[in-house]
């Protein structure tokens, strides 16, 4: 206890607010500055002079535009299938009359804890064994791989919203003469909208930016945003890569403007705190 009144102790008897300093410093150095560098590189040439070269090249190259279109389609299709498959599953899992077993939810999350590259390789090998190989059916094979990988990320946020569903409201609607279909459209769907939105966010952007799944399952035939950026990285084309990354950042900014008012919990949708 000697240090109690020394100068060093006064330095260390820190106010709690100073504890955040290393955290903020790390974020500024390794998140904020690199993100700003992306913007700088997107609008400069190889020598670091300001230039719109990367932008002009992106918008005048049909293959790059098609990357954008293909990525959007793949993202939309995967999100839609994941929602269609995951929504009823999450609804049933959250209904105490149907499922009393909390472990079942954990089972849906468990594949996330097995290395996804190994799972992707296994899926590829199995699909080509039944004739759905990337050589002949690149789109279908990739779609199956995407859905398989992202379904848990859809079910989890949907499940957490469904747990909060006001079931008395639904029963009241039914008692007052609503058909089950009408109860669903007018009551369940609006109540679960925040879950649908955050589930879509967990799938759409990650699918567009994925590399391993599309590269492996389509045997390189389908180029998504992620594959394109990866190629730029391998060839050290920093400016072109930065511009594509910037487009992505703009897309994210737009989607955040739309979904801002829905509360979200990124930790829960990553599988944190299931218990």
């Amino acid at each position: 206890m000697q240090w109690k009144n020394s100068k060093a102790s006064r330095f260390f008897s820190l106010k709690r607010k100073y504890l955040a300093f290393p955290y903020i410093l790390f974020l500024v150095l390794f998140i904020l500055i690199p993100t700003l560098l992306i913007i700088f590189y997107a609008f400069s040439d190889e020598n670091g002079n300001p230039s719109a070269e990367a932008m002009i090249e992106f918008f005048s190259t049909p293959s790059k535009i098609s990357v954008l279109v293909v990525s959007l389609f793949m993202g939309l299709q995967t999100t839609l299938i994941c929602l269609l498959l995951g929504y009823p599953a999450a609804y049933f899992l959250a209904d105490k009359k149907i499922n009393k077993n909390a472990v079942l939810v954990v089972l849906f999350i468990m594949p996330m804890w097995i290395n996804f590259v190994i799972r992707t390789g296994a899926t590829r090998d199995l699909l080509s064994a039944i004739g759905l190989d990337g050589g002949t059916h690149p789109w279908e094979a990739t779609l199956i791989g995407m859905v398989q990988n992202y379904l848990p990320f859809t079910i989890l946020p949907l499940y957490t919203t469904m747990l909060k569903l006001d079931r008395a409201q639904m029963e009241a609607a039914a008692d007052l003469g609503c058909s089950p279909f009408k109860v669903f459209i007018k009551n369940v769907l609006p109540q679960s909208l925040p879950g649908i939105i955050s589930a879509s966010e967990m799938v759409f952007m990650p699918v567009m930016s994925s590399y391993v799944i599309s590269d492996t399952l389509s045997e390189g035939k389908i180029t998504l945003f992620g594959n394109s950026i990866y190629l730029n990285f391998s060839n050290s084309q920093w400016n072109a890569g930065s511009f594509m990354a910037l487009i992505f950042l703009v897309l994210i900014g737009l989607s955040m403007l739309v979904t801002r008012r829905f509360e979200k919990d990124p930790v829960a949708s990553r599988g944190g705190g299931i218990w």
Partner: protein, 295 residues
């Protein structure tokens, strides 16, 4: 009349329950097909995935003899533990500190935290590499990709999630507790260790677990930011993800990976079972307490 209606209703709910359960288990089965196939075919020596050539533990033996795989496994585990530890220390201190900030500066810190959460991994990875290359070109010529850049990449991946796991625990905490400890003569440091830390420990633990899973599973950030080092020595650092990706690009999944997946699966299953048992016990215990108090 009334009786007949009720039985019909009962039949209906029973049908719904059976149908719903059938759907859940079917979906679960479809999701587990690749994993189940890997587990089943890990117990045969056949090189071809899907052909059974008799029961054997051959793949498990060759798994542990394969130096390349063992090295990658070692790298993966060391990197995951180290990066998660750094994230937990930085993120917990960050959450405790920012909690005390004024409203406006708190909002700035929160949006800074959100950047890596909403940014796709590949954009995060590219931006880091660009900065490292920039540093090498314009600031210090000797700077290059190494184990340290890889470590920074993995910390970036998991840091915000640690922060976001600890934050709710701080919000739940009674702020008067810390002040009371100080009033009773405790030093700030002691109050932090003995009052704040125990209260936020569950958040720290779940943040650590989340950081581990993010790091263990990562491919993109690893392949962008890695240099030489760790168990790979002078060669590029290989993790399980990068090693398997390089192999499946050229051919089928290496058969030893079936054995590895089975071992990982069993480990995860064990953890899930133990945690579930512990949680049910805890829940029962707390119910018991409530009952006693009510009585």
């Amino acid at each position: 009349m009334v009786r007949r209606v009720r039985t019909l209703e009962e039949k209906k709910t029973l049908a719904v329950r059976v149908g719903a359960n059938f759907y859940i288990y079917l979906l679960l089965f479809l999701m587990y097909v690749p994993v189940l196939a890997l587990v089943i075919f890990s117990f045969t020596g056949s090189v071809n995935f899907g052909t059974w050539s008799g029961f054997s533990f051959e793949l498990y033996a060759t798994l542990f003899q394969d130096e390349e795989i063992m090295r990658a496994l070692g790298n993966t585990v060391i990197l995951a533990l180290l990066s998660s530890f750094c994230s937990v220390v930085l993120g917990t201190l960050g959450a405790v500190g920012v909690h005390e900030w004024k409203r406006r500066s708190k909002a700035v810190a929160e949006s800074l935290t959100q950047i890596p959460v909403v940014t796709p991994e590949i954009v995060l990875a590219l931006s880091l590499v660009i900065m490292f290359v920039f540093l090498g070109n314009y600031v210090y010529a000797g700077f290059g990709l190494s184990f340290w850049t890889l470590l920074i990449g993995h910390i970036c991946l998991s840091l915000p999630f640690v922060y976001l796991s600890v934050k709710p625990k701080l919000l739940q905490m009674d702020p008067a507790l810390y002040e009371a400890a100080l009033d009773l003569g405790s030093t700030p440091r002691k109050a932090l260790y003995q009052v704040t830390l125990p209260a936020i420990l569950p958040g720290i633990l779940s943040g650590f677990l989340l950081a581990l899973t993010l790091s263990l599973d990562d491919f993109i950030v690893t392949s962008f930011t890695r240099g030489s080092g760790l168990l790979s020595g002078a060669q590029m650092i290989e993790t399980i993800s990068t090693l398997v990706q390089a192999r499946i690009k050229k051919g089928p999944l290496p058969p030893q990976m079936r054995a590895l997946t089975t071992l990982i699966f069993l480990f995860v299953l064990l953890v899930v079972i133990v945690v579930t048992i512990l949680m049910t016990k805890k829940r029962k215990k707390s119910h018991h307490h409530i009952d006693r108090r009510n009585a």
